[in-house]
Structure formats: structure tokens, C-alpha cells
Symmetry: C2
Subunit: 403 residues, 2 copies
């Protein structure tokens, strides 16, 4: 007998038929004698539809407290509908909202972080032999107000429960049957991996592989929870295990990813003085802009350039923030480019193989793809290329390493 | 400065335009310096749509706990959407779920009764000068599970808050501008009343006038809360005040109502012995069948008949319950008629005017409408007539008294 946490995303529970499919996956584990906790997202496009409704009332954006109140109704509906479906199989089941399941968060509405989980209620329901369905993505702050964890928050909810209850297994069901070396919809030769490390998964998640929310991977790494990524459509197919150390199947690089949600901003002709970069990034941090790649040119003629990337939706905020520094920051011009995309390779193996970067650049060069910016870390190399060349770049890089 | 509780039904908040209309009604009271608490139902047909979804999963009916979890999401959406609408007017506002507003109920899911309201949170929000939007129809039981109060429960929520917080005014907004002497859609000559007593309103609500939920009227009577029934479409028009004693406008009867949701059941040829009626109605009570009119014939030849009415949806349950008594209860036959409707007149004046019943029967007789059954109480007289003659019966009785 094991304690299993299973998480199903919105597309896995989008309609009655899919709910029944999920119910049967749960039934199998339950009937095998396991304790089963299921974390569910809102059905299909419910969250987006609710947000759309909210913005139709207030196009400038309603308060985040009320937005969280609204969208959290999405999981409330999905957990009860899934529970009703499980009832039709004759199994004991109970659905719990985030706060009923003991989730306490901070008060950053819409991007709240889990502070604590009090597992008393879940434990009591498991002791009664109930299948426990938990609303992902939501919790309660110290004012007794509902908060949400932000996009992909249900993954985080699942991992958090798994770590607090020391689950034997934490399965994240999606609509792909594991983690691939590249997005199989774009790269036909992409292969499914049996295992991947947390760090590699983190880089891939951040880079736009969109299989797992990266906060959930960080949490899994921190608490040593092994995750399995698998498909709710083919639950019998073994998925990809995400864990600390992977076995002998030493691939030089683990995966290739493309992220189109990128804007590049350059501040050209900054005075080459200490503290300039600090001013820029302090200001961006205050405006809550997440900066990804940062490049600073070598000083020349007493000036230097700073280039950085942000997600496309934060581009305007970033530019406005920099403009507000006028007077304290002198520069020649501020330029931005939204037609860029980031192509990256990830792999813990690469740091001991000096030829990796060269191989990547060669592949792109052979395909006549211009590299606009390069950024490297211990386990990844990213390049910015023109958006129009993104898919082709992904394919040539993938093929250079994977064949 | 006064404390005002305002309740808006689902049709009053069905879309963005109507939400804005409601927000402006609230704005007016708030800007006049009042503390404003607003109780809201789910938008439009949301509750019905959610129920339909649930029954599409389990046609036999899901567990009531999960149903309450599901449908309570309806008010969660409407309160946040109304709060967002009020935000666009630049006013401070906060939405509260039933449990956040302090509603504790018993555990009769889907028909829960309010046990207690802890008004601490509402008071704190009012002290911060917030407009407080409360989800009607819902609460929390002692297991920390969400319950709902049953149809029309939002009226009850509003009256309960008004009584706990000793509100100066409790306004129930509907899509009619007050309580009429008959349903104005059926009786063209119906008149709006300025005032009506709790008891008269209770009889009218029970009889199918469908203006106010009768549990809310009972509660208002118990705690002496004056209610105003008015329209959200013409909020400037004074509505009908429901209170303990009404003024001098002494009408002989207060209103006429028709209820088509009626089935008549007769047990014919029962043994004329003590305890027979007890057996029948004890059995019906166990099956949770609400019996309305009861008539027992005078015994003859050692047998008697019992006739009673139930709501149409409980007819089958009632018949099955009686059939289960076979062996302990002897009777010749069990008959039922679903093509009946109940037409009633209500008025505290009638008990001191012996001619009232005669006048009603005369009007029906003149119109060639056959009276199947008669039932009287201190403040009402009801007759059962053929469904096909219901509307005409309502009109002739109304005109006999109202002209």
C-alpha cells in the first residue's frame, strides 16, 4: 500500500468523458489498495473564460483579490464534478477546496506562495478510506481570503501535498506522455526521456517546454519528491521520472527548447561608470519585471550597452520603468525587439564537454540562422534568433545533438 | 447614516449591464453615507446550469455534499463580478463567501438551515468603509464543508444578516416592483400593495406568489425585520413593505394566488379506526413529503377517505410511501390527480367577515368552475380546481374582491 498523489490538468478533465477517464485511472490505484490524493485544475478553458469575463467588466484590470475570488471558482467546479464522477463508480470520495485541504499562502494575490499545509483534514479523509480530490492552484491567506498560486499552480499544489504527506509517488498527468528532448509538435525526431534531473527539468520548464511548472520542480527538488510526468490518455505508458540523479543513460544534452514569449531590450550608450547596471535592474525589480538573459558590452569610448530579455507581456512595463530613470541615468537610446525567440539546449553533461557550444553554433550557421545574442550557464546555452527562424533553429539544433 | 441590507436575485445580476445597474443602485445608498451590505444570488441560470451538468454525470443524482460544493461556485462568481463592477465606479468594496461572512448552518446539504452568523468580518469590513458583497444561499457546517440553503435561500441570507446586524432596512430586489394582489402577468387588474403583514406574505409565498422565499419571511417576522420588496429595474419606485401590523388601508383580502405545482392524492375506503391518519402522515413525514391541504371524510359504513395535496414533484414519493404501508393499512384504492391547481385568497381581514368564503364560491360558481376541494385557515381560503380552469378562476376571484 502506497500513498499516491496524482495531478490532472485542465485538459484532462475538460468534459464528462475525460472526467470518466480520469476517474478510472484513479479507480485502478485505489482498488490496488493505495491511498489516493488527486489534485485537479479547472476544466478546460474555464480559468481563461472567467478572466475574460472579469476584464470585460474592467478592461484596466479588476483588483487581484476579486480576481482570485472569481477564478478559484473554476477548481471548485472541477473537483466536485470529478468527485461526482467517481461516485458513479461506487467509490468513496470527497472533494476539498484549497483552504479545506489546509493550504495557507502569503497575500500576493494571483501569484501567491504556499506558506504551510495543514494536512489534518486530508489525513482524516484518507483514514476514512476516501479518495481525496483537492482543488489545485488555490489557498487562503492570513486574512481568510482566497488566493491563487498563478499559472501552473496546480503542479505546485500537488508537489506540496506530496512533500508534506511524504507521498511515495507524485504523478503529473498532462496531454503528452513524458518529457521529450524537444517539443514533439515542432521537432519530429524528438525522443521521450526515461529520466531527467530536477535542474535539467527546471531549465527546460523555464525555457518554455511547458511540461511542468518550474516552481513545482523547485519544490520537488527541495523536498526530494520524485515526479512522474505521464499522459492521462495513455496512463499505461510509463512516463518520465524527474529526480535528483539520473542513471547511466548519459546524453550529452538533455533537451532543446524554444521560447517565443521573449522581448529584447537594449539600453545603448550608457555611461561606463560603476552602479549603472545596479540602477537599471533595481528599477526593474521594483516594477516586478523578471529579467532573463542579461548581457553587458565591454566599455568603449566611455560608454557601454546593456541588453536584457523579458517576457513579451512585461516589455512595456520594463521600458516605462527605464524611462522613469531619466535624469539619474544617461543613455543614447532605448531600443526593443519583440520579434525574437530563444532557443536553448540543456544538459548536465555539457559542462565537461567544451565542444557543445561550438556544435550548436555550427548547426545554426550551417542553416543560415543568425545568432543575435548568446547566453550560457553551467547546464544550458541559449541563443536569441529571429522569431521567423525559431522552429527551424530548434530542429537543426535538436538534430545536431540527437541523431 | 443607516445600515442597509440589499438583496439582488439572479436575474438582477445576469449580465454586465445588469451588474452595472445594480452597482449604481448600491452607489447611491453608499454615497448618501450609509453602510451597505449586499447579498447576491448566482447570475441568471447559473445554478440550473451547474445542476444540469451534475445530473449529466450522474442521472440518479450525485451526493448532496458534492452538489453543494458545485452550485455554491455560482455565487462565488457573482459576488466577485459585482465587486469588480463596483470597483469601476471607484468605490471600496469587498466580496465575501458565505463562510467568510460568518454563516454557520446545519448539515442538511442542499436544504441547510442557518445556525448562527458571526458578523465579525462583516463589521470589520464596514468599519473600513467597504461596501460588503455577500454570497447568498450558502454557509458552512461544523465539518467545514460548504452547504446551501435551498431555493430562495439568498432571501433568507439577507434577512439573517439584517437581523444579526440590526439593519435599519432590508430591501429585496426582484424583477417586479412590489407585492401585487395577484400575479400581474395573469390578472390584468392586479394592484400593487403598499404594505402587507408577515402572515399574509407567508400565505402568499406558500401559495405560489413567488415573490419572497417563505423561510425569509418567517425569519423577518421572528426578528421583526421590515422588508421592502422592490424592482432593480425601477429602484426609484417605492415597493411593498412587509411588516407586523399594516396601516389603515383595510382591504378585506390581501391577495389572490394560484399554485399549479400541486398533486392531489386520495386514499379511499380506509377503515374508520383511530390511528389510521397518524399512520399515513407519519409515513409521509418519514419520506420527507410535505403535505399541504388535508381533508378527511366523515366515516360511513365503517370506512373513511383521506385526501391530501403535495407538490407535484413529491407525488410519486408519496404514493410509493403509502403503498409500503400495505399490510398495516387497509384501503380500497389509492388515486391521484395531477391536473389540479390551487387558488387561494389571503387576508387578515377575512376572519371577521363571514361572507368572504361565500363570495369566493359564488364567483367561481358564476364562472362555471367546479370546486374539487376546499380548505380554510384563519387568514386564507384555498380551493382546488382543474388546472385548465386555474387562470380563469384566479381572475374571477380577484375581480370579485378587488373591484
Amino acid at each position: 500500500m502506497a500513498l499516491i498523489v496524482k495531478k490532472f490538468g485542465g485538459s484532462s478533465v475538460a468534459n464528462n468523458e475525460k472526467l470518466l477517464n480520469v476517474a478510472k485511472i484513479i479507480e485502478k490505484d485505489y482498488k490496488a489498495g493505495n491511498d489516493v490524493i488527486v489534485v485537479v485544475s479547472a476544466q478546460g478553458d474555464t480559468t481563461d473564460e472567467l478572466l475574460e469575463k472579469a476584464y470585460s467588466i474592467n478592461p484596466k484590470g479588476p483588483s487581484k483579490r476579486e480576481l482570485d475570488m472569481l477564478v478559484s471558482a473554476g477548481e471548485q467546479m472541477s473537483i466536485s464534478l470529478l468527485a461526482m464522477t467517481i461516485e458513479t463508480l461506487g467509490l468513496p470520495v470527497v472533494s476539498l477546496l484549497g483552504w479545506q485541504a489546509g493550504f495557507t499562502t502569503d497575500s500576493n494575490y494571483s501569484i501567491a506562495r504556499i506558506r504551510k499545509i495543514d494536512p489534518e483534514r486530508i489525513r482524516a479523509e484518507l483514514a476514512k478510506k476516501n479518495i481525496v480530490i483537492v482543488a489545485g492552484f488555490q489557498g487562503l491567506n492570513k486574512y481568510d481570503d482566497i488566493t491563487t498560486l498563478g499559472r501552473g499552480g496546480s503542479d505546485t499544489s500537488a508537489v506540496a501535498i506530496a512533500s508534506v504527506l511524504k507521498a511515495d509517488l507524485c504523478q503529473i498527468y498532462t496531454d503528452v506522455d513524458g518529457v521529450y528532448t524537444a517539443d514533439p509538435r515542432i521537432v519530429k525526431t524528438a525522443k521521450k526521456m526515461n529520466e531527467i534531473t530536477y535542474d535539467e527539468m527546471l531549465e527546460l520548464a523555464t525555457l518554455g517546454a511547458q511540461v511542468l511548472n518550474n516552481r513545482s520542480v523547485e519544490m520537488a527538488k527541495k523536498y526530494g519528491i520524485e515526479l512522474e510526468v505521464l499522459s492521462s490518455l495513455t496512463p499505461e505508458v510509463k512516463g518520465t521520472i524527474v529526480k535528483e540523479v539520473v542513471g547511466m543513460e548519459k546524453m550529452l544534452i538533455r533537451g532543446v527548447a524554444k521560447d517565443s514569449n521573449v522581448s529584447r531590450i537594449s539600453i545603448v550608450g550608457l555611461q561606463d561608470q560603476p552602479g549603472v547596471a545596479f540602477k537599471v535592474f533595481e528599477r526593474l525589480a521594483q516594477a516586478k519585471v523578471n529579467v532573463d538573459i542579461i548581457l553587458q558590452s565591454v566599455g568603449r569610448d566611455g560608454t557601454k550597452d546593456i541588453t536584457f530579455t523579458v517576457t513579451a507581456d512585461q516589455c512595456n512595463t520594463a521600458i516605462e520603468s527605464i524611462k522613469k530613470l531619466e535624469g539619474t541615468l544617461n543613455y543614447k537610446k532605448l531600443v526593443h525587439d519583440e520579434s525574437v525567440c530563444k532557443v536553448s539546449i540543456v544538459g548536465t553533461g555539457m559542462q565537461t564537454h567544451p565542444g557543445v557550444a561550438a556544435k550548436m553554433f555550427e548547426a545554426l550557421s550551417d542553416a543560415d540562422i543568425n545568432i543575435q545574442t548568446i547566453s550560457t550557464s553551467e547546464i544550458k546555452i541559449s541563443v536569441l534568433v529571429d522569431t521567423k527562424q525559431g522552429e527551424r533553429a530548434l530542429n537543426v539544433v535538436h538534430d545536431a545533438f540527437m541523431l
